[in-house]
Every structure is written in structure tokens, then in C-alpha cells.
């Protein structure tokens, strides 16, 4: 038996459970484990999946991370720690797959096992083709955020993998901040080094894997006889609802701001609708408001329309004063 795990806080448990449900349905031979970077919720919930609270990891420096990291940074930092823990605690496990909580598995994961026969570490790229500069988002995002998406990785139990996990854990301990200007992008940006530093790293370009807003321009989703396909010919294996929020059901991802509403592809709309139903069915309303116990928690409050209108106006005025041509000095440097 092999393990698929995810890492999240209580308020994301409905997403984790939906991931677990989808995995059970499509790949029943995997055991699903939730790494909970939180204290166990008081709400009684179905215990159909194994939950490992972060305290079980007995991480000697956890308090340090709790103090300095945001909830998101902390969760990301725990990914490699859980991988090491799961390998250590389950001597019979040879392979480990990590999936972000906001992923939905729709197809057979067995190709990953094929890849892991001759490789130790599997990653997926955000994009595999150039994105025109004129499109509403472009490649620059991934120069900051990282080439490979950390929402998925698969590992085989080898010395090489443990060397990678140790390296990643150390970086997540010291430099796991979300601070692009300083060359840090939580757990993900570090992955840029992985194909260079480590042996037996395989980059899976399979179009059915890790489909998300960042690669929909090269992958078209469609439903054929009830089954989701990418580019008409390849079954969808898993979709990553990165940046999707049930509060804004028409926005494909908050990372894309405007222009990215679910409007033109009915099959995609159906997939998102199916996802919303699953999340709601997993007690979304009960869990979403639980405040995470660890990490710095910043509550997101939305501006009202009027306030955001005034703010935009103010920014325009400030910008105008800054840039209005009152003449220039010239000097040669």
C-alpha cells in the first residue's frame, strides 16, 4: 500500500475530505492521510481518513516557526516534514504522493508508479509552452513563484529522496517566507533547484496532471460521455483548484484577478460546480470559520464597493502628483 497525503489547517478540512473522497473513488488502493497543522477540531466529524496533528511530528523548532510564519507559510513548511514522518512511521511504504488540499483526483494515478520505477522524485511544471506577453497574465509570475508547482510531488523511498527532503526541510525551517523580492516563495520556489541538485528527478509533462488556471491556455478541458479529457485525447488525472473560493464561485482563481471568470467552457463550469457540491457536502460552513491555532493569522476582510472605489481614486491622484511633468534634472551617472 502507498500513501497520498495532504497538509492543511482545520478551516480547509472540507477540501481535504473532498480530495480524500475523490481519491478513494478513483484510486482505492491508496491510503489517504491528512497532515493537520492545527489542533484537532472540536466539531465531531466523520473519521473516514487518518488525521495526523502536527504535534505528533514533535518538531523541536515548531514553536519558532509558529512565531515567525503566517498560516500559509507554516503549512508549506510542514510538507517535507510530513513526508519524512510518513516514511519513518510506515516502514512498508515505498512511495509517497503529496497533493494540495484543493486538488480533485479524477483519474488513475498508476502512471506515477511507472515513473517511480526508475526515478526518485516527480515534479510537474506550471507551464510547458511560452505564454504571450499580451495575455492577461504571463510567464513573469513563475519567475517569482517557481517553475514547478508544489501542489504535487511524488517520492520513492531512497537515500537520494531523503537527501532532498533534508535539504528542503532545512530551507523551509530558515527561509520559508513568502517574500519574492528576497528570493523566497514558501516551499515552491526552492523546487527550481531540485532537477539540478538531485539525481533521478523526473519532470512529468503529462497534460492530465495538475491541470489548473496556469496551464488551461495549453490544455482544453472537455467532458466526453461523462469523463473529463484534456485536449480531447488524454483523461484528466487531477485538477488543482488553486486560488478558487466558494465565496466567488465564478472567479476561476483569485491569482488571476479579473478576466478569468468561468464563462466560455461549459465542461469546465460543470467541473467547478461538481467541486462546489463536494466541498459543501463536507461541512464547509462548519469548518471555514475555525481560526487556525498556529501561525500568524490575517483575517481577510473585503472592502465594500464604495471604499474600494474611493481607494482607487486616491491611488490615481497620488500617482498623478508623483508623475506629472514638472520638469526634470539631468545628470550623467
Amino acid at each position: 500500500m502507498n500513501i497520498v497525503y495532504t497538509v492543511c489547517t482545520n478551516n480547509h478540512l472540507p477540501f481535504a475530505y473532498s480530495l480524500g473522497d475523490s481519491l478513494k473513488k478513483t484510486n482505492p488502493k491508496y491510503q489517504f492521510v491528512i497532515g493537520l497543522v492545527d489542533v484537532l477540531p472540536r466539531i465531531v466529524f466523520q473519521d473516514k481518513f487518518q488525521i495526523i496533528p502536527v504535534e505528533n511530528l514533535s518538531l523541536p523548532y515548531f514553536e519558532e516557526l509558529n512565531e515567525k510564519y503566517s498560516v500559509m507559510e507554516l503549512c508549506c513548511a510542514m510538507k517535507p516534514c510530513y513526508a519524512t514522518y510518513l516514511f519513518n512511521e510506515n516502514a512498508d511504504i515505498q512511495e509517497l504522493i503529496y497533493l494540495d488540499t484543493d486538488i480533485l483526483v479524477k483519474g488513475d494515478l498508476s502512471r506515477i508508479e511507472e515513473y517511480l520505477k526508475i526515478n526518485d522524485i516527480i515534479l510537474t511544471p506550471h507551464i510547458s509552452k511560452p505564454v504571450p506577453l499580451s495575455s492577461h497574465w504571463n510567464e513573469k509570475s513563475f519567475l517569482n513563484a517557481g517553475l514547478y508547482n508544489a501542489g504535487f510531488f511524488a517520492l520513492k523511498r531512497t537515500e537520494n529522496t531523503f537527501r532532498f527532503l533534508q535539504w528542503w526541510t532545512e530551507r523551509e525551517h530558515k527561509m520559508g517566507y513568502y517574500d519574492f523580492e528576497k528570493g523566497m516563495g514558501v516551499d515552491q520556489l526552492w523546487l527550481n533547484f531540485v532537477p539540478i541538485y538531485f539525481e533521478k528527478v523526473f519532470i512529468a509533462f503529462d497534460i492530465g496532471y495538475n491541470v489548473a488556471y496556469w496551464n488551461l491556455q495549453e490544455r482544453t478541458l472537455s467532458k466526453i460521455e461523462g469523463v473529463y479529457f484534456i485536449n480531447q485525447n488524454t483523461p484528466l488525472v487531477f485538477y488543482h483548484f488553486s486560488g478558487y473560493s466558494l465565496e466567488k464561485p465564478k472567479l476561476i482563481s483569485k491569482h488571476l484577478k479579473s478576466k478569468s471568470y468561468l464563462s466560455d467552457n461549459q465542461d469546465l463550469i460543470d467541473l467547478f460546480k461538481e467541486y462546489r457540491t463536494l466541498i459543501s457536502g463536507n461541512n464547509y460552513e462548519d469548518f471555514r470559520k475555525i481560526k487556525p491555532a498556529f501561525g500568524k493569522y490575517i483575517e481577510v476582510t473585503e472592502d465594500s464597493l464604495v471604499v474600494s472605489f474611493i481607494k482607487k481614486g486616491l491611488l490615481k491622484i497620488i500617482n498623478f502628483i508623483e508623475n506629472v511633468n514638472l520638469g526634470y534634472y539631468y545628470y550623467a551617472k
Binding site: E139, K140, L147, F180, E181
Partner: protein, 332 residues
């Protein structure tokens, strides 16, 4: 044997470096044609004819870059000198149909060994790049550490080797397009000149090779894992022959500093590297570094500084204040 062009790009102030690179290449690979791409105008300055390198000088205005004036307007000297790189690649492949390989070296590189292995690899791959780090570097606060490379690029673009083919052409076209407007130093927006764009090569292409050999592109960013030694008149990096050394950030006006871009490597704790730098500084001096270094690049505009900075601040104040009040939590 297939024909190869090696080129560098610089302004007049770096001609001593470019000449030194050319000399080192001529010793080991005389069959490779060497060209200096000059982002400058020789006819706009008084320059001693006897000091100008005898290499082929290809001025930037001769290769016909569409939109070059806008690039000059928007870029500083580093940005401009790096942004034109793919345009030179393009020019060479277009205008020399018999040329099979085009290799770029930064002017502050010199060659120590015949490039036999590299040329052999170019017969198998269309794109060859070198990473800054091929093994992990300890997490510390010295510059550069791994986070600096995550900001500025996994691969060092002081070196890029290509051979004629569909993928190298696709790379050049894509890179040209990006560098027309996006060759900035702007870390918070993911940009670092031409270099960081090359991060995408392993995602977009198949016919590439990442050269991690100890002897390639040796520089301050990898010296912590690469030791220099001399045996029987030949230089070695660990156990491999030194192919080329990149003296990035080294200046004759301050020869006690390994590189102005870093604080990790010093001559005090790395006596093994000193002879390589002494050798280089001699060459630069002989090639008139002190003479060239003061020339200003023709294409770089004087810095524009806005007037009335204080007046602007005062005028902005009430609006900024109001914005900060509105941004406080709890205001609906």
C-alpha cells in the same frame, strides 16, 4: 568540421576584457571565429587606433534591431547590454548560413582549454547552459546564497552555447520578444535582465544540455565547491581541467576584491584562486583596461531625476493619509 562563431557583447569601456577573451580563445581554438558585439559607436569618440582590438567589431546599429531606440530609452547599461544578446545570435545565424554553432561568452571570461568537449556536445544538443550552482550551498547570510540565485536566475547567462536547429531558433525568437521590454532588474516582479528568462529552457525545450562540469563557468558563485590547482602548467578545478573562468565583478581598480557582487569568497581564505586573478589582471593591463574603462556608452541617456520632489510629497500627503485610514481594519 562545422563552423563556429563565438562572440561577446560590451561597450567601449570593456574592450580590454573583450580583447583578452579573444586572445585566450585564439590560443586554444583558432578555428573559432571571434566577434565583439559593440553596444557603442566608435565614430562618436576619439579613440587611439593602435589600442582598438584587431578582432571583428560588430556595432549594434549594424545588426538592425527593430525598436532599438525604445530599448535604449528604457534600459540602463546592464539591461541594454544583456537585452541585445538574442539579437546577435539571430544575426549570426541569419547572415552566416555556413555557421553551425554560435556561442556567447561574457567579456570578463577567459578560455583556458580547447573547447573540444563543448563543441562535441553541440553536435548533440542545440542549447547548452551552465547553472550557477550544481550542488547545494550552505544556508548562511553570505552573498550570494541560494535565494539570490532564485531571484536572479538558476543559470548564468555569461555563457550560452547553441547549435543551428529548430529549438535554438525558437529559443532565440522567444527570448528576443521578451527582452525588448522585459529585460529589467526588477526582483519583486520576477525580472532579472536576460538571465532569469532562461529558467524556462528545461520546460519549453527538449534538445538542451545542462553542463555541470567543474571546469565550466567557474566564478565567485561556485568557488566554494571548486578548488583551483596548477599541475604541469595546466589549471585544474577539483579534478577537471579548467575550461573557462568568469571574472564577474572583478575590477583592476580594486584588485584585492574577488568580485564586487559578493562577500563569500576572499583572497585571504582562498589563496588557491589568487594566481588566476593575477594572471588576468596582467592581461587586462596589457590590453589597455585603464584607457578604455572611462569611456561612456553612447547609448545610455543621462539619469532623469524628477523636479520638486518635496512639493509632490506635500501635495500627496492628505491623500495618502486618507488612504491609510481607509485601509485600516474595520472601516466599512
Amino acid at each position: 568540421m562545422s563552423k563556429t562563431i563565438a562572440f561577446t557583447i560590451c561597450s567601449i569601456n570593456y574592450l580590454a576584457q573583450a580583447k583578452t577573451l579573444g586572445e585566450s580563445l585564439a590560443i586554444h581554438n583558432p578555428e573559432i571565429e571571434y566577434v565583439i558585439g559593440l553596444v557603442d559607436r566608435l565614430d562618436m569618440v576619439n579613440i587611439d587606433a593602435d589600442k582598438i582590438p584587431q578582432n571583428t567589431l560588430l556595432e549594434i546599429d549594424k545588426i538592425g534591431i527593430e525598436g532599438f531606440e525604445e530599448m535604449c530609452e528604457n534600459y540602463n547599461i546592464t539591461e541594454l547590454n544583456t537585452a541585445v544578446k538574442p539579437f546577435y545570435f539571430d544575426y549570426f545565424y541569419e547572415n552566416y548560413p555556413d555557421v553551425q554553432n554560435v556561442i556567447y561568452f561574457d567579456p570578463d571570461i577567459i578560455i583556458f582549454q580547447p573547447l573540444t568537449e563543448l563543441l562535441n556536445n553541440l553536435s548533440k544538443f542545440q542549447i547548452i547552459i551552465t547553472p550557477h550552482l550544481s550542488v547545494e550551498t550552505a544556508l548562511d547570510n553570505f552573498i550570494p546564497n541560494e535565494t539570490n540565485h532564485l531571484n536572479t536566475g538558476i543559470y548564468n547567462l555569461g555563457f550560452l552555447a547553441t547549435s543551428r536547429g529548430d529549438e535554438s531558433f525558437q529559443l532565440i525568437d522567444w527570448w528576443k520578444e521578451r527582452l525588448k521590454t522585459e529585460c529589467k532588474i526588477d526582483l519583486k516582479n520576477g525580472l532579472f535582465v536576460d538571465q532569469i528568462w532562461i529558467n524556462f529552457v528545461p520546460l519549453y525545450f527538449k534538445n538542451y544540455f545542462i553542463e555541470k562540469g567543474d571546469g565550466y563557468n567557474v566564478a565567485y558563485w561556485n568557488l566554494q565547491t571548486r578548488n583551483v590547482s596548477e599541475r604541469k602548467g595546466k589549471w585544474y578545478i577539483n579534478d577537471s581541467p579548467l575550461i573557462f573562468f568568469h571574472y564577474s565583478g572583478y575590477e583592476l581598480k580594486k584588485t584585492t576584491i574577488v568580485s564586487k557582487y559578493q562577500n563569500r569568497i576572499h583572497f585571504d581564505n582562498r589563496p588557491d584562486i589568487l594566481p588566476l586573478f593575477e594572471y588576468y589582471s596582467e592581461k587586462l593591463r596589457a590590453n589597455h583596461n585603464d584607457y578604455f574603462v572611462n569611456f561612456k556608452c553612447h547609448y545610455i541617456k543621462p539619469n532623469k531625476i524628477k523636479k520638486y520632489k518635496r512639493v509632490r510629497k506635500v501635495l500627496q500627503f492628505p491623500f495618502i493619509k486618507l488612504l491609510s485610514i481607509l485601509s485600516r481594519k474595520g472601516v466599512v
